[in-house]
């Protein structure tokens, strides 16, 4: 067999396997699929298969045929059962029925399981013993404190820097990078402290009006857009945006 002919057999086999696989996944009425012409095609290809890779593809095609034949046989069994009702008719009946009627239908066919969800004497005794065996412990309550300058400083952020050079540098960087950047891109990928510092600077930049935020809720994207000059307008409404800087 020539090399061209070998390649042709391989291509035809791959096409057949792919066609059979897509038929299995398609979800269309399995009984409407005509398998005979495809089987005849495979028979002819098997006759021309001489290479090992052809035989592998032959086996895959035969396996897919087996799945399709099994699905057809199962579908026949289901349709011949007393439970078989045309799905289309069921759909029509459902669409034509008010919800109250559909609820009543379920209740007529439903026999809920009976059971008790109560404590027995034995369980109560076990619970009592468990409670008595628990070690007592206390939690030292500490008053929560607002974030102070020193706390920020420990993270490498100086407050005076925030509203002066740091924020202006960030504005400049944003303009340099096209004036519109995704929040995550602007925060960058440095160390945690660096990212946190940049996240704080961005929030100040937005609060002071040096930039504004644009949201794309459907794509879950958040853009930071630079302004030429800091906006003097008071924001009409404020909102919090939770972002994870990890």
């Amino acid at each position: 067999m020539s090399e061209t002919s070998e390649r042709e057999v391989e291509r035809e086999l791959r096409d057949l396997v792919s066609e059979l696989s897509s038929l299995i996944r398609s979800g269309e009425d399995i009984l409407s699929i005509q398998l005979e012409p495809k089987m005849a095609k495979l028979k002819e290809l098997i006759r021309r298969s001489l290479e090992f890779k052809h035989i592998e593809l032959d086996m895959e095609a035969v396996y897919n045929f087996a799945l399709l034949v099994y699905a057809q046989s199962k579908s026949l069994r289901d349709r011949s059962s007393v439970l078989y009702v045309d799905p289309f008719l069921i759909k029509l009946a459902i669409l034509g029925s008010p919800t109250e009627r559909l609820a009543e239908i379920f209740l007529r066919a439903w026999r809920p399981s009976a059971g008790r969800d109560v404590l027995s004497h034995e369980m109560m005794k076990k619970s009592y013993d468990y409670w008595n065996d628990l070690k007592t412990y206390s939690i030292e309550l500490e008053e929560s404190e607002p974030l102070r300058g020193e706390t920020l400083e420990s993270l490498g952020i100086r407050y005076d820097e925030l509203i002066s050079e740091g924020m202006m540098e960030m504005c400049e960087e944003l303009r340099r990078r096209g004036g519109r950047l995704l929040y995550e891109e602007l925060v960058g990928g440095g160390t945690l402290n660096e990212r946190l510092r940049r996240a704080v600077l961005i929030s100040f930049m937005l609060s002071y009006g040096y930039a504004h935020a644009e949201k794309e809720p459907l794509k879950k994207r958040f853009w930071v857009v630079a302004r030429e000059q800091a906006s003097k307008d008071q924001p009409k409404s404020t909102e919090s945006l939770v972002t994870i800087v990890s």
Binding site: L83, P87, L95, E104
Partner: protein
């Protein structure tokens, strides 16, 4: 019977069957056998005769979801689930008291009828599309999660199939008949 006697075994059967010890109600045959002995089918017949007048039925659901009887072969009974169910249908008000909404009941009818008419399996997308003809999208997602959580539906790859609870509690044949006004 052994020294403990039939009445004691019937009481033990009631404890096992009524008491919900795991998420799925009911008891496996081998668990009953371990607790009631090899003659557990006889104990269960006696137990059944006492609870039936109270409107409670004992159902035996095989591995494949089909209903068995107490006379079925032992190898089938040992892996089957024995469940107590109410013998009579509930009224809408009873179901509401139990925490069901009319929409939840209607949604479940749609799911079961649709899956039942498609040979016991359908895709989530098809079911969602059908439910959305009646309910808003957020409710549809919520309903499907609940039905799976409660055991009425089961997820199998991308498909939804009837769950163990449907097999135990719902007469699917009658449900399909009632949909057409039977």
């Amino acid at each position: 019977m052994e020294a403990s006697g039939l009445p004691a075994k019937i009481r033990r059967a009631a404890q096992l069957l009524f008491f919900k010890s795991h998420r799925i109600p009911g008891v496996k045959g081998w668990e009953l056998k371990r607790s009631l002995g090899t003659g557990y089918a006889r104990v269960l017949r006696a137990f059944r005769s006492q609870v039936e007048p109270l409107g409670i039925s004992l159902r035996v659901i095989g591995d494949d979801g089909t209903e068995l009887s107490l006379d079925s072969p032992e190898e089938m009974l040992s892996t089957a689930r024995f469940v107590l169910v109410l013998a009579d249908p509930l009224r809408v008000s009873d179901a509401k008291t139990s925490g069901w909404s009319v929409d939840e009941l209607a949604g479940l009818t749609i799911c079961l009828a649709s899956i039942g008419s498609r040979g016991g399996k359908t895709t989530r997308a098809e079911l969602e599309e059908l439910l959305r003809q009646k309910f808003p999208k957020w409710k549809v997602r919520n309903f499907l999660s609940k039905y799976v959580k409660w055991g009425y539906l089961e997820e199998s790859n991308d498909s939804l199939i009837l769950g163990w609870r449907t097999n135990a509690e719902v007469d699917l044949k009658s449900l399909l008949k009632y949909i057409f006004g039977g």
